[in-house]
Symmetry: none
Subunit: 408 residues, 2 copies
């Protein structure tokens, strides 16, 4: 059977930039390998959610991997805690957490407690707290981060963040976002845990040490992005493909874990501009040789350059991807699918709903079109036309010859 | 913030016409300004409702303005009475009305009572009639027309027209179009009002005068297009854009009023071929300079030429639009969106479901494609691909950088 590599370059799409001769960073970049792939493949444009719809990083990936948002997406928390290796159970509410610093009036002084390197010794004293039948499960993430699960009956993810998302203001009370008893109950329980956590953390011996060292104490748990966990059909069961994830960023590992893929550890994959892209591509090729059928490879930094408005950096990073992509040119028995999750135009410095280029390359599988350049405007003339994210996995399955017959 | 002009040329699309060298009227027309805009913008094709779907003038505009038909459209009546400045309340049933002439056997002699110029003195004697808890509100429209509202509990728009839409036949009884008690009740109430109206009108002193002058009496109220009013989210609230409507035709002013836009009065805007298109474009530019964010500009007559099968007239009218469009060439900070509401092929002499060209022009906002001609076949190769009406407003909001984030 043919294998699949799905390469997603985060925030890939952009708008014409005067300083780049009215080209986008992707169009302006020197990308001989991506262009050669485009010439061999069939190209098009896709909006992960829909025309004009502006996707988050979590929703865009779920859609591209074939998961309907109304059925599978309730908030980012479930995906983030999956990425930390925490097991979710039906009915759990999961949140992203930071350890931060507040003063005696609960005003936020530092949302990351001086970018504390390890929250482990703090959060272990919070893990397992219980209140009204609900247990708090908490695990350290990278740096100041932590994953939080509320487990018990009658919970809802329709609650607000206590994280004020800025310093100099008081931490928020969590409040319900709808009129349900479940949301009110969940807000009450979480507020209780947050108060208890503050009591435990403010006098924590390690914070005494931090104070002596002149560091801000890690004395408050800031939460955001509550998600409700409903059992999700694993990617391998959904498509009959044994799948792995190769990513540096936590959210993308989370997407892999959340959809039941094996998340591979790749040395040098950082989720930042310094990432070792060649190592990621090599890891994907090895994984497919070693028994996996599908490798989801995520490369993050183009998005970050877009959010900084740094079009030269974005262009240079795309060229770095292209150099590594030489190894993808001659993969036997492999369908290579390359796209972005959304556009992050440098002029907007944020995600947008502009469509992103998409190419599918596989000898004998696709009908190569006349497009010989991997870019926004070149691909808009391609044979795939204009797709949505939810169309991509069915098309991959179809190209592999694995699509179920509808009818008789 | 960038401003928006949405220019809709009614009935714009067409089919190849042998006498025009197998070009459509738009393709055959000399349109240097529209072509220059196409060259600067991104082009595509759109079907207001969907591929192969043949839209009315009301439904096509609602869809292009982003209103889902199953949620917001129940009949043309609500839109027409909105255009007359009548305020609708939730649960109202609104109809379009004519004052017509019937003989003693209620056979229609003239559907427009000799194109009577003013129905005001007649309809004021009908306004405020009540029956079984329902009040009849009626207001004169232009010429022989009137707007009709039934207000009271338990009404339905699922009723037939009494207007037979032809002369020489008896006016119809209104009958329910479904088995509901509400439709039966509404038909009963409206039939009562129509009988009362005939009694009041047939002996009206002004009709005595008309008979003496040899004019057909305005002695019957002909109704059609019942619509049920549910509160509609205003355009400005839906999109955060302060919007105005510039149109000559009553229906299009009605679309503006129905969606809560400010309907501007523009001298010379007639909704016919003699309309002052330059005045309309100037009014749009002034409105945007004066505080509006979004100007919906409607130009009608291409549709009428299509319905007459007059392809030379349609071509000439499109050239008239193009001459006026010179003022749209260099608008600063403006996203210009140009399309039609539907095709009205001269060969069919009626609306069709053929897609219409669409272009979006705005420096730095869109990715200009290679299309340099505003025409059916040129735009079919454009970078926007093939859209539906409901995709247009989300894409406009996205291009402005105002789209809400879906996910995180």
């Amino acid at each position: 059977m043919q294998k699949v590599i799905l390469l997603i370059m985060d925030g890939l799409g952009d708008r014409p930039i005067k300083e780049l001769g009215n080209k986008t960073p992707l169009e302006a970049a020197h990308t001989p390998n991506l262009d050669a792939l485009a010439a061999r493949g069939i190209c098009g444009m896709q909006n992960a959610i829909g025309v004009g719809q502006r996707p988050g990083s979590d929703t865009s990936h779920l859609a591209i991997l074939g998961y309907e948002l109304d059925k599978y997406y309730t908030g980012r928390g479930t995906i983030e805690v999956s990425g930390l290796g925490m097991d979710l159970e039906e009915g759990d509410v999961a949140l992203r957490g930071n350890l931060g610093t507040v003063d005696d009036s609960l005003v936020t002084v530092d949302r990351r407690a001086g970018r504390i390197a390890d929250t482990g010794p703090f959060v272990k004293d919070l893990d397992g707290l219980t209140y009204e039948g609900v247990t708090l499960h908490i695990k350290p993430g990278t740096g100041h981060r932590a994953g939080i699960i509320l487990r018990g009956p009658g919970l809802s993810s329709r609650i607000s963040d206590n994280d004020p998302h800025e310093v100099g203001v008081k931490v928020h009370e969590v409040h319900p976002l709808d009129g349900s008893a479940e949301a009110a109950f969940t807000a009450k329980v979480l507020n209780h845990f947050l108060n208890r956590a503050h009591e435990i953390l403010k006098d924590h011996p390690l914070n005494e040490e931090r104070r002596k060292e002149g560091k801000p104490p890690a004395n408050y748990l800031l939460c955001r992005g509550a998600g409700y966990y409903k059992k999700i059909e694993k990617f391998s069961e959904r498509y009959g493909l044994k799948a792995c994830t190769i990513a540096g960023g936590g959210l993308y590992k989370g997407i892999g874990a959340f959809t039941g893929m094996t998340v591979l550890k790749v040395p040098g994959a950082t989720g930042m501009a310094n990432t070792d892209i060649s190592a990621k591509f090599e890891a994907a090729i090895e994984a497919l040789a070693g028994g996996f059928d599908f490798a989801f490879v995520h490369v993050k930094a183009a998005d970050a350059f877009g959010e900084d408005g740094d079009f030269q950096g974005k262009k240079a990073f795309i060229e770095k991807i292209d150099r590594a992509a030489g190894t993808l040119l001659n993969l036997p028995h492999t369908l290579l699918v390359v796209t972005g999750d959304h556009s992050t135009p440098c002029a907007l410095k944020k995600h947008s709903g502009d469509p992103v280029p998409l190419m599918m390359v596989g000898e004998g599988l696709v009908r190569p079109d006349h497009v010989a350049e991997f870019g926004e405007r070149a691909c808009a003339r391609g044979g795939l036309g204009r797709l949505t994210g939810l169309m991509i996995m069915p098309e991959i399955i179809n190209l592999l010859g694995l699509a179920p017959l509808i009818g008789d």
